[in-house]
């Protein structure tokens, strides 16, 4: 008897990463229904002076909204999308988010390619399968996929693709490419 046949629903987690304003929210919205998920985290020192803490010196947590979407593949099989917090001071949330994740999409903007370096580094170190989706903003140079691969110093097996996160078909292609990549990673490890 295969354990998959039991009634336990399967929930898979995919992370959407990239710099601030690169299109994470748009990508999640293009392919899934966005739900308002509130999360709250410990304020690090970096938050002091940014968040007004006058009179609430004991306050150590703050509430942040997180991009969250779900794609129902079938009853009992759901893919959850989580946008990773763009600000550096929420880095510590990534470990929990990436734990057990099926994979990650790193969205890149060629005008600010360095913004996605931290995400790429993070997933490389964690061994989380990821793809780089180059969001083609209007007016942005269409750098070739190979240029982006070289600039980001990616391993050959990491898929790099152009996309338009506003378009559902494009967002779909990105997700399919990621899951296929995760599948390859899984089968080559066995």
């Amino acid at each position: 008897m295969d354990s998959v046949l039991s009634e336990d629903p399967v929930a898979l987690k995919i992370l959407i990463a990239g710099g601030f304003g690169v299109g994470k929210t748009t990508l999640v919205g293009s392919i899934s229904e966005i739900k308002p998920l509130r999360t709250e985290e410990v304020l690090s020192d970096r938050g002091v002076g940014v968040d007004d803490l006058d009179g609430v010196e004991a306050k150590t947590t703050t509430t942040v909204a997180m991009d969250f979407g779900r794609i129902t593949i079938r009853e009992g099989l759901v893919v959850y999308l989580f946008g990773t917090p763009g600000q550096e001071r929420f880095w510590f949330m990534w470990d929990e988010l990436s734990y057990g994740a099926l994979g990650a999409v790193v969205i890149a903007d060629t005008r600010r390619l360095t913004d996605c370096f931290p995400s790429v580094d993070y997933f490389e170190q964690r061994g989380t399968p990821f793809v780089v989706a180059v969001n083609c903003f209007e007016g942005a140079d269409r750098h070739s996929v190979d240029d982006v691969r070289i600039a980001l110093d990616l391993d050959d097996d990491v898929p790099v693709m152009l996309c338009d996160v506003r378009r559902r078909t494009s967002a779909k292609e990105v997700m399919i490419t990621l899951v296929e990549h995760s599948l390859r990673t899984l089968t080559s490890a066995n």
């Binding site: 336990d8 739900k35 509130r38 057990g100 899984l186």
Partner: protein, 121 residues
């Protein structure tokens, strides 16, 4: 005066601050619940001892539901939901399965199913 924003009802925010619901605690007892851990209500519900939010969770978890979906459904921050879940777990009122635990990134068959499902979207 008339220029100042007026907030009514839900826009004015919760009457009870979320952390008051969980008496200022920020971490659940025991292990932290993964966002995609599946929660399911088990056993008889002792209505007397539970707060209204915990009763709402038990009602929502009659069918298996993820921690993230619970937070959306109850419109509460994830951390608050986790603490409430910790209490329910301590009382033996829920079972929790963490699909992403165990290191395995799930099996080949499921991933193929996901790929086909995405294509069909």
């Amino acid at each position: 005066m008339s220029d100042s924003p007026q907030w009514f009802d839900e826009e004015a925010g919760p009457v009870v601050r979320p952390y008051a619901l969980i008496r200022g605690r920020t971490r659940p007892s025991g292990d932290v619940f993964d966002l995609v851990a599946i929660v399911r209500a088990v056993g008889e519900t002792p209505t007397g001892e539970l707060g209204p939010e915990q009763q709402l969770i038990l009602r929502a978890a009659r069918a298996p539901i993820s921690v993230a979906d619970l937070a959306v459904e109850l419109d509460l921050p994830v951390g608050v939901v986790r603490v409430l879940l910790g209490d329910l777990r301590d009382h033996g009122l829920i079972s929790v399965s963490s699909p992403s635990a165990g290191g395995s990134r799930t099996n080949e068959r499921i991933l193929k199913e996901v790929i086909n499902g995405l294509r069909a979207l």
